[in-house]
């Protein structure tokens, strides 16, 4: 369980990093390494070159008009502990806290989580729930991709060789909105088997399912079903699983986490 040999570069400026990625399209980006390094160790990934972006100045959490901008190398632990995130977007802090264990959160980054696109990724689910924009830099310059359009499937995104996720911009939910996020896993730190992120405000709301399907999916219509138990039933009926018969238990678990997330959101809603 040792990685195959690779070339290694550690650029210190964004321009240099983009140059390297453009010159070596077969390279992979190393940020926190909490998904990439296990894949290297198991030789599921055998890149010819690794571009370590750990020295780039991408560690900022900033307020922007109507939202928060989180640079790509901000770690899950930083998000969880950030006074600004806890004040303005506590949903994101709560999502970050659900990830792995503290020794994973101390190194794993938000940009890496977006680019890796695990079906159970909590911060990606929040990005999709909030209509966040993922900022991508390449030799062509900077562009923004809606979080819901970033992911095309399990561990698969629209990102091309030479692209680097450099930030995520989260719009704040409507004022007074309550939020809740819940997931089920057999052991603390595992990948969630079913997760739900709820936002509720007077007269409306949103619901996002994650961990069940190949990518997190918005099922906002379920919110109109009524009380939390009814929302959960409706939500489960809206999820298309590849093999419903084997995964009936997963839908049952999903119902329970939806109910929990919606109850939390209702409790936090300011009416």
């Amino acid at each position: 369980m040792k990685p195959a040999a690779f070339d290694y570069v550690r650029p210190t400026t964004l321009d240099d990093a983009i140059d390297v990625l453009t010159t070596w399209p077969q390279s992979v980006i190393l940020a926190g390494g909490q998904s990439l390094v296990p894949m290297l160790n198991m030789r599921l990934a055998r890149p010819s070159a690794v571009v370590d972006i750990g020295r780039l100045p991408l560690r900022e959490i900033a307020q922007i008009a109507g939202g928060v901008r989180v640079s790509a190398l901000v770690t899950h632990l930083q998000l969880e502990r950030s006074a600004d995130i806890n004040a303005y977007l506590p949903l994101l802090a709560a999502a970050a806290h659900l990830i792995g264990h503290v020794a994973i959160r101390s190194r794993g980054t938000i940009g890496g989580s977006m680019a890796h696109a695990d079906p159970a990724a909590q911060e990606l689910a929040v990005a999709i729930a909030l209509d966040a924009k993922v900022e991508v830099t390449s030799s062509m310059g900077l562009r923004q991709i809606a979080a819901s359009e970033l992911v095309v499937g399990r561990w698969t995104t629209v990102l091309e060789p030479g692209d680097m996720v450099t930030a995520v911009e989260f719009p704040l939910p409507p004022s007074g909105a309550g939020w809740g996020i819940a997931e089920f896993k057999r052991r603390t730190g595992d990948f969630g088997l079913a997760g739900a992120c709820a936002l509720l405000w007077p007269g409306g709301g949103r619901l996002t399912a994650f961990g069940l399907t190949s990518a997190a999916v918005r099922i906002d219509e379920a919110v109109a079903a009524g009380d939390p138990a009814q929302v959960a039933k409706r939500a489960a009926s809206m999820i298309e699983l590849a093999n419903r018969r084997d995964h009936a238990w997963q839908l049952a678990v999903f119902e329970a986490v939806v109910e929990e997330a919606v109850e939390e959101a209702a409790r936090r809603m300011v009416t």
Binding site: P3, A5, S106
Partner: protein, 158 residues
């Protein structure tokens, strides 16, 4: 460019080495520096036995390349005891029988030290959450939780 220069401090001492980029931090500590207190279990981030502190934060040294700690401050289990004395956390582990085979112990100790060196409520529940990323196959965790609670009562942490 396969050999990379690595400079950092380990347990207070400056270190410099030429390493392959693919070398894990755990293997560098064990094989190059002969600091074999850090254990390597699963090599995929699940078991927690390789947990050490880098710049004060717990990390998995099997999921970190050695070259990634260039410039950082690294603390391993060897930093704890002096030649005369065990560290208060080690003493508490001994007193509460918090180890049997000892394989998970270095990772448990470093995780526990991070917990107590940072502000926040200390309870059996917060301890259980903190060590949830460290697997122990011998003790059933009860002694470990008691040991960390015992160590927390000593006035040496914040």
């Amino acid at each position: 460019m396969r050999g990379v220069t690595l400079r950092c401090t380990v347990n207070g001492f400056d270190q410099q080495d030429e390493v392959e980029a693919r070398l894990s931090l755990a293997d560098w500590l064990r094989d190059n520096l002969h600091l074999t207190g850090t254990r390597v279990g699963c090599e995929q981030g699940v078991c927690g036995s390789c947990t050490i502190l880098v710049d004060g934060l717990p990390i998995r040294s099997c999921l970190t390349l050695a070259v990634q700690v260039d410039g950082a401050d690294v603390r391993t289990v060897e930093s704890l005891a002096t030649s005369d004395d065990l560290h208060p956390m080690q003493r508490a582990f001994e007193e509460e029988s918090a180890l049997q085979c000892g394989f998970c112990t270095p990772g448990m100790l470093m995780t526990a030290i991070f917990l107590l060196e940072n502000p926040g409520p200390i309870s059996a529940e917060s301890i259980r959450e903190a060590i949830s990323g460290n697997l122990c196959r011998c003790t059933g965790y009860a002694g470990i939780v008691r040991a960390i609670l015992r160590a927390a009562r000593e006035d040496v942490w914040l």
